[in-house]
């Protein structure tokens, strides 16, 4: 069975400071891992994906994540937060390919203050 644990339900940062959103995963097979972002009353937008290629994955809007198999982690980072980054972020795992069932974490709400 696959699962993800997002270690922080809420994260607050000041604009211009680094962002770190933490995610640990559990999977019986080689997983595909994703980060999605959801703005209020909107659907989910893909930030980045890991599918067994490079372990450091770069995504949109300056976000990146590093796959660490030994730590079963896939933390999301950004060097400098913008006000527009305020949203809900979901870490997601899929076991058998990118078209298969997605299992979501419970989400991390990112707040960005002036």
């Amino acid at each position: 069975a696959q699962s993800v644990t997002q270690l922080d339900s809420n994260v607050s940062v000041s604009e211009g400071t680094p962002v770190l959103l933490r995610c640990n995963y559990s999977s019986s097979y080689s997983p595909s891992l994703f980060w999605y972002v959801q703005h209020p009353n909107k659907g989910l937008q893909l930030l980045l994906k890991y599918t067994s290629a490079a372990t450091l994955v770069k995504g949109i809007n300056g976000f990146e994540a590093e796959f660490k198999k030994s730590e079963t982690s896939f933390h999301l980072t950004k060097p400098s937060a913008h006000m527009s980054d305020a949203a809900e972020y979901f870490c997601v795992v899929s076991e058998t390919g990118t078209a298969s069932k997605l299992t979501f974490g419970t989400g991390t709400r990112l707040q960005v203050t002036l």
Partner: protein
């Protein structure tokens, strides 16, 4: 290039009624998955359709059923609605091609409220 489109955007029903939600996948996609997102929670997988058949199913009762049409669009039907069915219902499309490395694309969802 239209992305995933869902209709309606909002819907209000009463307990015991039935509802049908609709989804058109992104151009070039042949697989549709449905997710339920309760308020303050992450989305939960309901089921996935490919080649007009249900291929995978999550832990949802038989009151939740679906259909996929030859043009790859899909419907989600929920019977005997309960208050707990109030949620945002998200549709995601993808390609089942063997060497496809593309992720699932989501629509903006249908907000279903049960009174």
């Amino acid at each position: 290039d239209a992305g995933v489109t869902q209709s309606p955007t909002h819907l209000i029903k009463t307990r015991g009624q039935q509802v049908t939600l609709r989804c058109s996948p992104k151009s070039g996609h042949d697989t549709v998955s449905w997710y339920q997102q309760a308020l303050g929670q992450g989305p939960q997988f309901i089921f996935q359709y490919y080649e007009e058949e249900e291929r995978q199913r999550g832990n949802f009762p038989d009151r939740f059923s679906g259909h996929q049409f030859p043009n790859y669009s899909s419907e989600l039907n929920v019977n005997a609605l309960l208050l707990g069915d109030s949620a945002l219902y998200l549709c995601a499309s993808s390609s089942m091609a063997r060497y496809s490395n593309q992720p699932q694309h989501f629509g903006d969802g249908t907000r279903l409220s049960i009174l």
